[in-house]
Symmetry: C2
Subunit: 243 residues, 2 copies
DNA sequence: ATTCGACTTGCGGGAACCCGCAAATGCCTT
DNA sequence: AAGGCATTTGCGGGTTCCCGCAAGTCGAAT
């Protein structure tokens, strides 16, 4: 069994290597990659079936690497391990995970045993394992009434890119007023207008406020913005090509 | 000589400990703290004069910890070491560093020798040392015409909090039109309106766009938003108290 | 002293945003 | 089939934002 580790921090890589060696005795070949691009390359070249991947990497982030890997070999099992419990990461992953594919998400702060379990459960047993920290986040949001639907999330992304309502409506082929309704529920769920502080005549800039609230609550993160930005530029280039 | 290390990642802490021990033989007492709060506490209790501190920590971030430490003992020498070369961090630091105080900023990715040099130069010699990565960033921005002045930065923060122009004007006691002028130069420097993409009737929401551009270019980061938000809440509480 | 440039302020209007009101559509329950 | 209930869409107008134009202030350079 081949296992590929993708991680750009040398200390974490060292630790990870040890843990994988001890948790997965059946791993007779352990490959190392130090950024997303190298990871994609190695996964392709060596036909790796099991991967442990960091999410935050400078050259190419884990979600993007995972997308190309999965698009080439959808059965690849990937365990993501990350410093942060951001909803945006989990959302980014669930958005691209293929049907019937095993994956997992653990935080770097978990104990050895938890990491061991996650490694075996995802890479060997083919389970889907999400760190309970993340589930807690999701739960908290739903019960606080702030679970974004997919279409709300999509609108939030477009808002964050600075698109005006009209353009958002066009991109999702919905009416202008519907976009505004989405925005209303976003403002509600993100608690824009929270508590109506005094010393403020009641108004804030809702669009901007929604964005910063999303960032502060970890509903969105800067990496998600970056890839959305890239995606948009590609889309524009493509449409320019067809015109 | 007492040295305090503040770092919440155990691997990095281990490495840092080794490096400090070998680079600073005069350090006869090395104290460890695992988050900002603990760091403040130890610094106060042990009257530490030299600190190496991580910037990203969950419980209390390095800049805030540094502020309270410096407010109590302005002569404390602090070397910040960080994963990211964000302008926002450097700006946050230079904003709070006392007169005639030694400090430094190095990235975690630098070589042992560079870290050695920074340790000796800042903590022993009392120099000011900024990693050249950061200088490169600052230079790039100035020559690209995008160095924000302090007042522009201040307006950017308020904008990011979602405040309307009128409120920003009040907080900085400038006229509404002046705020708008600041915003104009912000839009310019942050390259809102970049290249007028086709497929877009020419308009974007400038406020939101300015914020995401600032985030994407690392002019601003989420931690800066968090502390700005906290500061604003405190200010409101204070004003409520006086009323 | 004069000129110049950088900054501030007011005015005014076009565009975008925010949102209440109300009609239309589609799905679920009974 | 007949009522809810959620979602979508249009309309209208109040507010904020964006910004060109023009007049005023202030310090620095000539």
């Amino acid at each position: 069994m081949k296992v590929l580790l993708v991680e750009d921090d040398p200390f974490h890589m060292g630790y990870l290597e040890e843990q994988v060696a001890s948790a997965l005795p059946e791993a007779d070949e352990i490959l190392l990659a130090h950024d997303g691009a190298e990871g994609e390359d190695l996964a392709r070249r060596a036909s790796v079936g099991a991967i442990v991947m960091d999410l935050q990497m400078k050259s190419r982030n884990g979600i993007e690497a995972a997308r190309t890997i999965w698009s080439e070999r959808p059965q690849t099992r990937i365990l993501f391990w990350s410093n942060y419990a951001d909803e945006a990461y989990l959302r980014g992953i669930t958005r691209i995970v293929p049907e019937d594919c095993a994956y997992g998400y653990v935080l770097k702060t978990v104990s050895n045993e938890r990491l061991h379990l996650a490694l075996r459960s995802v890479l060997v047993q083919g389970q889907i394992t999400i760190d309970r920290e993340m589930h807690r986040i999701q739960k908290r949001k739903t019960e606080a009434g702030s679970a974004l639907t997919d279409s709300e999330y999509a609108v939030l992304i477009d808002l964050a890119l600075g698109l005006p309502d009209k353009e958002i409506a066009r991109r999702h082929s919905m009416s202008l007023r519907t976009v505004q309704n989405r925005l209303l529920s976003l403002y509600d769920k993100l608690e824009v207008d929270g508590e109506e502080e005094p010393g403020l005549d009641g108004g804030v800039n809702k669009r901007v406020r929604a964005l910063t609230r999303a960032l502060l609550t970890r509903t969105l993160n800067v990496e998600a913005l970056e890839s959305a930005e890239r995606a948009r530029l590609e889309e524009i280039a493509a449409s320019r090509g067809t015109v």
